[in-house]
Symmetry: D2
Subunit: 296 residues, 4 copies
Amino acid sequence: MKIGFFGVGNMGGPMAANLAAAGHDVTAFDPVPALREAAEESGVHTTDTPADALAGAEVVISMLPSAAAVTGLYLGDDGILPRIQPDALIIDCSTIDAATSRRVAEAAAESGLAMIDAPVSGGVGGARAGTLTFICGGSEDAVERARPILDAMGKNVFRAGPPGAGQVAKICNNMLLAVHMIGTAEALQMGADHGLDPKVLSEIMRVSSGGNWSLEVYNPWPGVMPNVPASNNYDGGFGVNLMNKDLGLALEAALATRSATPMGALARSLYASHANQGYGNKDFSSILALFKRKDD
Amino acid sequence: MKIGFFGVGNMGGPMAANLAAAGHDVTAFDPVPALREAAEESGVHTTDTPADALAGAEVVISMLPSAAAVTGLYLGDDGILPRIQPDALIIDCSTIDAATSRRVAEAAAESGLAMIDAPVSGGVGGARAGTLTFICGGSEDAVERARPILDAMGKNVFRAGPPGAGQVAKICNNMLLAVHMIGTAEALQMGADHGLDPKVLSEIMRVSSGGNWSLEVYNPWPGVMPNVPASNNYDGGFGVNLMNKDLGLALEAALATRSATPMGALARSLYASHANQGYGNKDFSSILALFKRKDD
Amino acid sequence: MKIGFFGVGNMGGPMAANLAAAGHDVTAFDPVPALREAAEESGVHTTDTPADALAGAEVVISMLPSAAAVTGLYLGDDGILPRIQPDALIIDCSTIDAATSRRVAEAAAESGLAMIDAPVSGGVGGARAGTLTFICGGSEDAVERARPILDAMGKNVFRAGPPGAGQVAKICNNMLLAVHMIGTAEALQMGADHGLDPKVLSEIMRVSSGGNWSLEVYNPWPGVMPNVPASNNYDGGFGVNLMNKDLGLALEAALATRSATPMGALARSLYASHANQGYGNKDFSSILALFKRKDD
Amino acid sequence: MKIGFFGVGNMGGPMAANLAAAGHDVTAFDPVPALREAAEESGVHTTDTPADALAGAEVVISMLPSAAAVTGLYLGDDGILPRIQPDALIIDCSTIDAATSRRVAEAAAESGLAMIDAPVSGGVGGARAGTLTFICGGSEDAVERARPILDAMGKNVFRAGPPGAGQVAKICNNMLLAVHMIGTAEALQMGADHGLDPKVLSEIMRVSSGGNWSLEVYNPWPGVMPNVPASNNYDGGFGVNLMNKDLGLALEAALATRSATPMGALARSLYASHANQGYGNKDFSSILALFKRKDD
C-alpha cells in the first residue's frame, strides 16, 4: 500500500522501515534532515514537504512527541487534514491526551476520514524488532482496516473502544505499571532490610499473589535478572522522564473525570522526586534508589 | 509420622485433616470443644490437654491467630517447649510478626529443637483442597525435613531464609498484593469513567506491562471473571480485616528496619478507611468501592 | 472611577455591589438576566452588550468560573481586548490556571494594556462583607494602581510576583490548606479512637507545633467550634467540589513544572474519593467522614 | 520537695537542673558516669544506685529513651516500683507508646501509686530554658499535683485525658507537624518552580488559610527566617531520626485502633526515605531536599 508517514525519530524511524521492509511504499516527512537521511537508508522514501508525503497515500501514519505536534500536523494553519485523500485511513501512534485524540478524530470524521489513535508499548527495542503492541481507539471497522498495516510493525493489536480509548487504555496500563514497579521495589528493599536475598524473595513473590510484570520480566534489583536495565546500571529501557510524561497524562485524565487515583498520584510524585534527584534519563526501574540507604 | 497439631480452626482444621488423610497419626489440641469434635469427624485424634498431643510426637505443628497465642503456646507459664521430645521438628504455620517468630525459634534452638516458621497463602479454600503455599523460614535442613509433611497440605514449599524469613517474605508478598489490587481497581475505574469497558481494559492490561496477579486470577470488577469474589457480591475470599492484619504486620516490619514503604503505607490507610466504611468482612477486592461514584 | 465588570454571579455580584457602594460608577455585563437584575438592585448599572460595559471604563474587572470563559471574554472571536481603552487597567479575579493567566496578560501587554491576575480567598461571605483577600500577579505598578479598587472589595492585597503569580500563590495556599485540613482530621480521629476528647486534643495541638489554620478557625470536628460548617452539618463554607477544582489546578501546575507534590497529590485523590461518596456539595472539612467508622 | 530523677541525658539533665535551681532537693540516677558528673555540676545530687535516688522521694521523675527502658526501670526484675514510697507521685516524661504508658500506670495504681505520663515538646532548647510544654495523661488530681513541679521545668502543662492520653496527644501533634511541614515544603518548592519568591509566598500563605506552625516559626526554606535550622544548614533543631521515631509511634498507635491516617503514613515513608538518603541527623525541615532539583 502507499503510506504517508509523519515523524521518523527514535520510534517512527524503525516503524517506517519495517513497513517498507514488508513491501509497502512508504514516503516519510520529518523536519529534521538527519532523520530523513536515516530513513532513506532504511528503504523509506522521504520528502521535506508534507504535501508530497500525502500524494496518493491510502494510509497516513503519525508518530509525534506531543499533543501540540499532533494538533499542528492535522489541524494547524497548514494542517494536512484537508489534503488527505477521501478514502484514506489515518493512524496516529503518538501517546497524547485522550481529549486531543478525540478532537482530531472528530475533525477527521467531519472531513469524511476514518482515524484511529494507536499508541504503542514496547519501546525502541520493540519498534526495531517489529514487536510493538498497539492499543487502538476508533471504530471496529477502522481498526480492522488498520490491522494488516499494524501487523507489519508489531505483534499485538488491541481495540480498546471508540476514538481516544487507545490513549486512555495505554495510560491506565502505564499508571498501573508505575504502581506495581514501585510496590515491587519497596517490597524487595524491605525484604533485604530484614536480611532476605532479593533473588529468593523475587522468585517467591513472582509465583505467589504478589506476582506482576515487573517481577516477571523487569526486576528492579540489580543482578536478579540478566538483560534488564537494573543489571546494566539502569541504562536503556524506559526512561524516568518518559514515565513521568505518561503519569502526567494519567493525572490529567483523572482530573478530567474527577477519578480518584491515590496510588497513581503517589507514583507520579515519587517519580517526579526521583527525576529531580538526577535520574531523569535512567530506566524507570531505578526508582529502587528512593528506598536504598546511603548511610549503609 | 506421629504429629501433634495445635489449633484446628478455619485453617488448621482442614490442614490436620489432610495430614490424617495422608496416613499420618495426628493428635490435635484446641481449647474449643466444637473444633475438636469437627476434627474428630475428619479422622484426627483430639485431646483437651496440650501434653497429650505431644506424646510421642515427631512433628509439632501450630496454626494460631496471633503472636500472643504463639508465644503463650510455646513460651508461656505452661508452655509446651520443655515438653517436646528432643528430636522433634516444630512447624509454626501462623502468620505473625517476624520478631516473635525469631524469638520463639531461638528459644527452641536453646532447647535443642529445630523450628521453622511456615506461614501459608491460599486461604481456607487452599487449606481444604490441600493446595496451600508454604513460605518457610529456618535452616535448610529443617525446611527439608518439613517438606514431606508440608507436601501433604499444600503444593508449593519455598524457603525464604533463616528463622523469621518466612514471615517477612509473606508480608512483603501481601503488601505488594494490596498495592497492585488497589492500583488495578483505580486503573479500571478511571478507564470506566472515560467510557471504556472494564472487561476489555482488563484484558489489554493483563497481557501488557500492567499485568499482575489481580488481573490474572482475581479481577476486582464485578462480572469480568466468573468464580471470583467480585462476581459474588465480594463474599468469600480474603477478607478486608485479614488484609488489614497483614498490612499492619508489614508496617511494623517496615518500622523495625526504618524501611520506606510509601505504597504499602498508603495501601494500609486505604484499607483501614475501607474497613471503617463497613467493608471489614467483604473480600479485599471490594476496595473498588473507594473509587466508585455514589452520585452517579 | 468608571468600571466595567464582567460576571456578577455568587462572587462577582457582591463584589460589584461593594464597588458601587464605595462610590464607583460600575457597569456590569452578565449573560444571565436574573444576575443582571440582582446587580441592578444593588446599585450597579448593567447591560446585555459587553461593549456597553467598556464605554469609558478606566478599569475592567472579570470574575468568571473557568479558563475557557476568561479566554473567551478577552481573546475570543468577539473578545473585548481590542475594545478596551488604551490606558485602562484590567483585573481578572477568576481562579484559573497560571498558564492561561500569563497568556491573556501577554496579549493585553501586546495591546499596550496593563493586566493583573487577582484571584481571591474568603468565599461568598467575604465577597459580601468586603473582606476578601486578593493575591495578585502583575507588575508592581499595575498592582499599586489596582490597590484602591481592590480595597473597596477586600481587606488584604498581596502581590505574589509577575503575571500568573497570583494564580500560583493561591493554588499553593489552597493545596497546603487541603493537606493540613486532612492531616488535622486524621489526627483528631486517631486521638478519638484512643479515647481522647477531640476538643481537648484540638486545643493542645492548636497551641503546639501542630497548630494550623484549620485548628485555629475551622475545626473539622462537629461541636468543637461554634459557627463553623462542621457544627452545622457541614453546610455552607467552601465546598468539596470547589476544593477539587483548586486541587486540580494545583496538580496541573505541578505537572507543568515537574514538581513533586506527594501530599498535595494524595489530598487531591482523597477529596476526589470523598466527592464520589456523595459529599461534593458539603464543606471541605467534611473530609473527616473518610476516617470515621460506620460500624461503630 | 524531695525528688528522685531517672535519666539525665540531653533532655533530663537540664530538666533536673531547673528543678534544683527552683529549690527542690533532687537526687538523680543515670548509668552513665559522665552524665552524673554533669548533673552534679548543675546542682543535682547523683547516685549510682537507683534505690538511693528513691530515699524519701515525694516525687519520682523519669526521662528515658524507649519503652523498654521505662518498662525495665519500673517493672523489671530490679524494678523500682515496689520501692517507691506509698504517697509519692510518679511522672514519666519519656515519649513512648501509649500502651506501655497505660500498662506501667496500671501497675503503679495496683501498688497504690499515682502516675502520669507527661511527654514534652520543646526540645533540648526548651529543656534548658525551662520553657517545655508537658502533655499529660493521668487523673485530674495527679496532674494537678504534678503541675507545680512541671512549672519549674516548662511553661505549659496540658492534661489530655487518662493515663496514656499524654502519649497519644503528643504523637497526634507530631504527626500533624510532619504533615504540614512536608505540605509547606512542597508548596514552597512548587511556587519556586513557577518563579515565585519563597519569602513572598511564605508570607502570603502564613496569613491566609494555608497558615501553620511551620510557616509561623520554622520555615523550611533557607534564608526566609533567621535563627531557624533551615538558615543554618539544617543543623540543630529536631532531627529527622527523632521525627521518624515519633512517626513510628504514631503508626503503631494507628495500627492499634485500626485508624486510617493516609497523610501521616505517607509522611512516615517520606521521612524514612529522607533518612535513608543520609539526612538522619539533620533538622526535620530539611525534607525540602526531597523536592529540590539536583539537575538544575
